[in-house]
């Protein structure tokens, strides 16, 4: 297990280096940030001053070398636009995204698994068919359209919920979050649902498939023959077995909803990281783009590692072996 983890971490370091190179040179190829930052009526001398002030007057490889040296010391550079260290900027935005993402994932588990289990347990019932048909809609409708429709129906027409933005923050155990006020929760409801919709559908379908696959299996028959109650068979034995694909997918989805909630955050004007990255790309704010993607890669690496470890907990047959030995 330890060897497995060490090997994984070394691979990750390589991924990080390649990623930073790609992003660094990619952003350089797109365009010159100074053309975007500088006031339109600035003259040539002012443009040159800005290029110098942002360190863009050096050749690109020198800029990269400078970046690597600083990054090893834990400094990923200052945002060109905000004049704030990019890590600090991302961490400022992180709580908003995390609360949105955690609510979305929670919704997909709380709604998706029971509905999926039901649909798999009683595949022929009318309710199951309705669930499955709806889940297709959840899959295929584009997020931005659903988001705008949610706003239109619940905020504009019915006026039940606020249309955009993050609500009031409450403080609980020293954490400031909009989860702790009613106003905050009201603001959170629509974007979280919008972000969760795809995942709910995914979890429903996975869970249903797992149910249908497992119910006719021998171990279920054996458990029934042993006289276990139907409840125990479904909620303990079958559930354990269908959880493996679901955990994998939820693990990946956590990463997805944290890193790429861009569309939802933009439509609902949610001040999270997704909105930051899209603004930064439009502004060619390279330090933020690089730092953001590095953090995202690290997050995915950690999540994958946790998922792998969870497998071995859920299914003792899975061994986290060193590839050389197996």
């Amino acid at each position: 297990m330890t060897v497995f983890i060490i090997r994984r971490l070394m691979q990750s370091a390589l991924v990080l280096i390649i990623m930073s190179l790609l992003v660094f040179f990619g952003v350089f190829a797109i365009g010159d940030p100074v053309e975007i930052f500088v006031a339109a009526d600035a003259d040539q001398a002012e443009r040159e001053r800005a290029i110098k002030a942002l360190g863009l007057d050096r050749p690109i490889w020198a800029q990269y070398g400078y970046f690597v040296v600083n990054a090893l010391a834990g400094d990923l550079g200052r945002s060109f636009v905000f004049n704030i260290p990019s890590i600090e900027l991302i961490l400022q935005r992180m709580p908003a995204t995390l609360e949105l993402a955690s609510c979305a994932v929670m919704l997909s588990v709380v709604i998706g698994i029971p509905l999926g289990m039901f649909a798999g347990y009683r595949p022929e019932s009318r309710i199951s068919k309705t669930i499955m048909a709806t889940s297709i809609a959840g899959f295929s409708l584009p997020t931005f359209w659903v988001g705008l429709m949610l706003i239109l129906v619940f905020a504009v027409e019915l006026g039940w919920l606020p249309s955009t933005g993050r609500g009031q923050l409450g403080e609980f155990l020293g954490i400031r979050s909009s989860l702790f006020t009613l106003d905050g929760l009201a603001h959170l409801a629509l974007p979280a649902l919008n972000l969760a919709l795809f995942n709910i559908s995914l979890v429903i379908r996975l869970t249903r498939a797992g149910m249908r696959e497992n119910m006719p299996m021998d171990y279920v028959k054996f458990a029934r023959a042993k006289g276990l109650s139907q409840k125990r068979v479904v909620f303990v034995h079958v559930m354990k077995n269908i959880m493996i694909p679901v955990v994998t997918v939820i693990g990946l989805e956590i990463g997805q909803v944290i890193a790429f909630a861009v569309v939802t955050e933009t439509i609902f004007a949610w001040p999270g990281m997704g909105k930051l990255i899209i603004d930064s790309i439009n502004n060619l704010d390279r330090p933020v783009i690089v730092a953001y993607l590095l953090i995202t890669v690290i997050m995915f690496i950690v999540i994958n590692l946790v998922v792998d470890i969870l497998y071995s907990v859920l299914d003792p047959r899975v061994r986290l072996a060193d590839a050389g030995k197996s």
């Binding site: 940030p33 500088v38 006031a39 600035a42 003259d43 002030a53 606020p162 249309s163 955009t164 933009t266």
Partner: protein, 533 residues
């Protein structure tokens, strides 16, 4: 017994909810004294000298004042200076307003102006500095606490215009870093509102400055919310979450007009959308014969070809079909009424026969082929406009292809030193509110030393325009300068240095409970939002 427990439980849960509701409820209700503004531009800093960027300048105006203010048509009006005049060719004297206090109670005087002039060029890491507005000043003399004199190296009539975008900070903030402004410690101005809270990318909260010299604002609390997505902004307004939004997108106009709770306010903008034409190179990369080979002689250097292009464009159709009427066909550099705008310049009439005839006279009776370039995320409907212009050119015999790209890459490609394109769609907002701004940047011969033609993407050069502009920039008398500027723009347009397309119309939408005085410079000022009686 059991029922009792359940009852007790139910009661306590209800009580808890009621308690939360009471605790949270009142703050939710929008107070009649509160104003919530939804803006489309992302505010990146509260430091008024860090980044010369429209959204930042817009919010800074709430907290800070300038020596000279601009009214809604960008005419200069007294701000922290009550009057200003040139006392000789190179010296300006400004009389400062008496009895003005900063938000922390400190009195304002010439020392604060000195501190501001010191801070402007100092701000570290500035991606776009305000030093371009203060560097004409070579010497500052404080005559008395309320009189200050600026000496310039050359006669410089635009100093009051330049100073109308420089926000005055307190002398205590002279060395305050940008972060101190964002956290509010240094965000102390003399403006109509005090800083309360800034959450980047989300909102800025302000409180009324009851001691404001220019009269109290109507709102005790103002929240400026950043909602960059135009549809979301419209939805927030329709849902009643905000009172007023700016940058209304054309597609939402019919819907907003139909809503009984909402009204629109509009004014002609200071922003001209135009086509820049490469007139410097003998061969320009995107003008070819119909087989795709680059033409040996750049036809865009021929005035008749440029005039033909202008005549081939149906400006009225663009305005009506793409903008639903919310734009103005343009024939000059700034709409009538702006300082130095020529009232003789009218939009070229759409006439395909005239265009074909001009092309024939220029030696291209069978036309040629070209690719025209533009951004797709910078100006309202920019891509659609270009897609409409392409076929208009094709109809007079110029096979035209349209290529658009995001501003992030287009801006670099289209300007110095790349100059990658031949025909380009660009926009220009005159920040100073007068015609020298587009003349200097777009039409003057490119010169690094003189600071001219920095955005002259076609590298147009006309000695007559340069000469008139130079004379205007050295003429302190307003009427004489306005005449010279009008003359320079007439010369440039007669020569088709660029092809004017249309002036944008700035649109605000607001609940009928409030009114707004729309501004040519696109800013949304909470001070100018009033409750409807």
């Amino acid at each position: 017994m059991r029922a009792n427990y359940a009852d007790a439980l139910r009661r306590s849960v209800l009580t808890a909810f009621a308690a939360i509701w009471i605790a949270v409820g009142p703050s939710q209700a929008v107070d009649a004294q509160d104003l919530i503004v939804g803006v489309g531009g992302n505010v990146t800093s509260i430091d008024p000298h860090y980044h010369n960027l429209a959204p930042n300048n817009g919010v800074a105006t709430h907290i800070f004042d300038r020596l000279v203010h601009q009214d809604e048509q960008q005419r200069l009006i007294p701000g922290l200076a009550t009057e200003w005049r040139p006392i000789d060719d190179t010296t300006w004297e400004f009389k400062l307003r008496a009895d003005v206090k900063f938000h922390d109670g400190a009195p304002f005087d010439a020392e604060d102006v000195l501190a501001t002039l010191k801070r402007v060029p100092w701000v570290p890491n500035s991606p776009s500095s305000f030093a371009i507005s203060t560097r004409s000043i070579v010497e500052t003399t404080v005559v008395d606490p309320l009189t200050i004199r600026f000496r310039t190296a050359k006669p410089y009539p635009l100093l009051p215009n330049d100073l109308s975008i420089v926000n005055i900070v307190s002398r205590k903030a002279v060395e305050a870093p940008t972060g101190d402004f964002n956290q509010g410690r240094a965000a102390i101005g003399t403006g109509p509102f005090r800083f309360v809270e800034f959450a980047p990318g989300d909102r800025l909260v302000l409180q009324r400055n009851d001691a404001y010299w220019g009269g109290k604002a109507h709102w005790s609390k103002v929240t400026i919310r950043v909602i960059t997505n135009a549809s979301a902004r419209t939805a927030a307004l329709l849902a009643g979450d905000v009172h007023i939004i700016d940058q209304v997108q054309t597609a939402d106009v019919p819907r907003l007009r139909a809503s009984p709770q909402v009204a629109l306010s509009k004014v002609t903008s200071n922003r001209l959308i135009y086509l820049a034409l490469d007139q410097a190179r003998d061969q320009t990369p995107f003008v070819t014969d119909k087989q795709g080979a680059v033409l040996p002689n750049n036809p865009l250097k021929n005035r008749k070809v440029r005039q033909a292009l202008s005549r081939a464009i149906n400006r009225e159709a663009i305005v009506q079909r793409i903008f639903d009427g919310e734009a103005i066909p343009a024939g000059g550099l700034l709409p009538d009424g702006f300082f130095g705008a020529s009232d003789k310049l009218k939009p070229d009439a759409f006439d395909q026969d005239a265009a074909r005839k001009l092309l024939g006279e220029a030696g291209y009776p069978n036309g040629f082929a070209m690719t025209i370039h533009g951004p797709n995320d910078r100006y309202p409907e920019d891509e659609k406009v270009l897609q409409a212009i392409g076929p208009m050119f094709s109809r007079v015999g110029l096979d035209t292809r349209v290529v658009t790209s995001p501003w992030a890459s287009y801006a670099t490609q289209s300007s110095a030193p790349n100059y990658a394109f031949s025909v380009m769609l660009v926009g220009w907002g005159a920040g100073t509110g007068e015609v020298s701004s587009p003349l200097r940047s777009l039409l003057a011969t490119v010169s690094r030393e003189a600071g001219m033609g920095a955005s002259n993407r076609g590298r147009y050069s006309n000695p007559q325009v340069d000469e008139l502009l130079a004379r205007a920039l050295a003429t302190v008398n307003d009427a004489a300068r306005a005449k010279l500027l009008a003359g320079a723009s007439e010369a440039a347009i007669a020569d088709m240095g660029l092809i004017p397309l249309y002036y944008q119309v700035n649109l605000w939408a607001h609940r009928r409970t409030v009114q707004y005085t729309p501004r040519a410079d696109e800013y949304t000022f909470a001070l100018h939002v009033r409750p409807t009686n």
